[in-house]
Subunit: 381 residues, 2 copies
């Protein structure tokens, strides 16, 4: 394996009835901003649980953070933080609310220019408001990492940053809060977590057998519980296993000392930016196409995956692994082709050009440029 540094100071509080621990987890003496999304937390009882736990505290709220959180919305929250003298951010919701809250945490203290530079120019930013999280949607892994992805309407961009200053101080994961999730969000979450594992696993062997098996452990869990949770959405244990698997998928452990890909995410972000597809919807479409395009380079890992996860051996086990993966996504009720969304090749050139103009080559070999992106998009049709 390669040299690496691993650091993850997030305190995870997992299980039934844990939201009341907010009373001890949120530091005293600071004004709190509770951030949330479209308001589902007001229907499913989570908002009330948070309110009870914060009794006696000085807090205000900022709702309406969208899926693919928008810079324009978040800057309103930044203004509110400054007006109110906020000293702690509490994100209540899914990965989008949390990603948005991480951006707010940095942007509040960013005086060097437009906070969008944190994304567009990867500008250094060291001071963040401390933040915590109550997670209600297992998917992005944001609850146990320092990553964030933000979208901007005016430029149709969706960009990411990583900054240790925005590790949540704590994340409360109560699987009961996920029982009322709509099927689409549940399945999106499973697909998202699955894709996260794959970006760190489906590359080339690197003498890191433990990391491989840790990744396969998460894949097996998602494959086992994905269809089951569709059948029994109210099953607490199924929900628990999905939730913990999604967190483990992107907390840094399985990427220790191994190459990473992330082509699927990079192309997927463009599809969301241009067509408004859900994040997970893009991943499910793009990932099999990336593998088909990079089949020779990924052959050894595709075969290992085929054998260990699907029990498939033989001459084209790599091809069969791709096939099985598409079937798995379809078993979650998801579409695996752009044509199913009515998307044609019209803007493929423009998307490819974006990577060219950013000077980015994608993938574990940095071998995927404009031409290859367009070829991959063609394989998604």
């Amino acid at each position: 394996m390669n040299n690496f540094t691993y650091f993850n100071p997030v305190k995870v509080v997992f299980g039934k009835g844990t939201i009341n621990q907010l009373a001890e987890l949120v530091p005293a003496g600071r004004k709190i901003l509770v951030t949330y999304g479209g308001g589902s937390i007001k229907q499913n009882g989570v908002y009330d649980q948070v309110k009870n736990a914060l009794k006696g505290r000085d807090w205000v709220e900022f709702g309406g953070i969208e899926p693919n959180p928008r810079y324009e919305t978040l800057m309103k929250s930044v203004a509110l933080c400054r007006e109110e003298g906020i000293g702690f951010l509490l994100s209540v919701g899914g990965g989008s609310v949390l990603d948005g809250t991480k951006f707010i945490a940095l942007a509040v203290n960013y005086a060097q220019g437009d906070p969008w530079d944190i994304l567009a120019k990867q500008a250094p930013a060291e001071l963040a408001l401390p933040l915590g999280c109550v997670l209600t949607l297992p998917a992005t892994g944001s609850e146990m990492n320092c990553f964030s992805v933000i979208s901007r309407d005016s430029t149709q961009e969706k960009l990411a940053f990583s900054n240790p200053a925005v590790f949540p101080r704590f994340s409360i994961l109560d699987p009961e809060t996920t029982i009322s999730l709509p099927v689409r969000q549940t399945m999106n979450g499973i697909a998202d977590a699955f894709a996260h594992v794959m970006e760190q696993y489906m590359t080339f062997p690197c003498e890191a057998p433990l990391q491989d098996r840790q990744a396969e452990a998460i894949l097996s869990t998602l494959i086992e519980y994905g269809p089951q949770v569709l059948q029994q959405p109210g099953n607490y244990q199924f929900r628990s296993n999905i939730m913990w698997a999604a967190t483990q998928a992107l907390n840094g452990i399985i990427s220790c000392g191994v190459p990473q890909d992330w082509t699927t995410h990079m192309i997927g972000h463009e599809l969301t930016a241009f067509y408004g597809l859900d994040h997970a919807q893009t991943l499910v479409v793009v990932m099999p196409a990336v593998w088909k395009h990079q089949k020779a380079r990924k052959a050894l890992k595709l075969s290992q995956y085929a054998e260990r996860i699907w029990g498939t051996k033989g001459s084209d086990s790599a091809g069969q692994a791709i096939e099985k993966t598409e079937q798995f996504f379809r078993s979650l009720g998801m579409k695996t082709r752009l044509s199913e969304y009515g998307i044609t090749a019209e803007r493929f050139e423009q998307i490819g050009q974006r990577f060219a103009s950013r000077g980015l080559k994608l993938g574990e070999h940095e071998a995927i440029g404009k031409t290859e992106v367009i070829e991959i998009l063609d394989l998604c049709r």
Copy 2:
């Protein structure tokens, strides 16, 4: 799975040539005490690497911390810390040096009475000197947890404590430092890590399939690389995988939300205290005996282990799993019976009595008391 809290703020710096990062990792402006063991670090070049990295810093050293670090020795170091106004502890060596250093870190600030109470009475202690670690022996997992085990000559006791204040600020793991390890220490380390996984895995199913597979991932790695590293002790990749597996075995991830046993360790500690056996030597003898004694209670997990790790199915797969495990230990050149060490039943009653007098019942069902301990020891002969 059960509710749990996971928190592990240790920064792990892993790989070749990483010891020079001490220069940035050790906080400036504090007087440093470098702790070490029997002096092997002066032969294998590690001491010189540390010295180079600490150039220009104010530091003193304390060598001679033993395997099964002794309270009597550590209290001398505590006195030195006070005399010298030490502000940071740097442990250079294996798990014993680090466990000892964790105790020093708490004992220096412990003014309420005899620091032995931290172990004997589990007395609360919140203030610790900050500490870091350069690990040279993969085994105990101490580099990424807040546990410590200390022995005391005068009372023939070996006791443990756990305290978040003693999480290392950082742990440097350079697998090259392990290449010169004697075979016995290498094999002890593999057996120790294997036993750590088992204490958290070999209990009863708890609807935690991810944790099970994460545990199995570590077991498979140790089983694959243990015999290989015996053949090629100089192979960096083999050493790397053993080192990372040992760390992962006891960093808290695989115990999230599942029952734990620790009977083997508790009985093993007594065998070390009474007979001076290496820690790992005791584990290898006691663990199969615990499983034989608790075979009915552990039947489901023994069968799962038999099938997934050894590919064994059938009517007595549990029995076969125990057999295979003993064979694995013997393939590492280790003894699996007390008689091989010339130990007889003479003091079994006294050992059993110790647990009775401490009011302790062992195991995931808290069903192992004095009588059962003696029965297990009988199965170790």
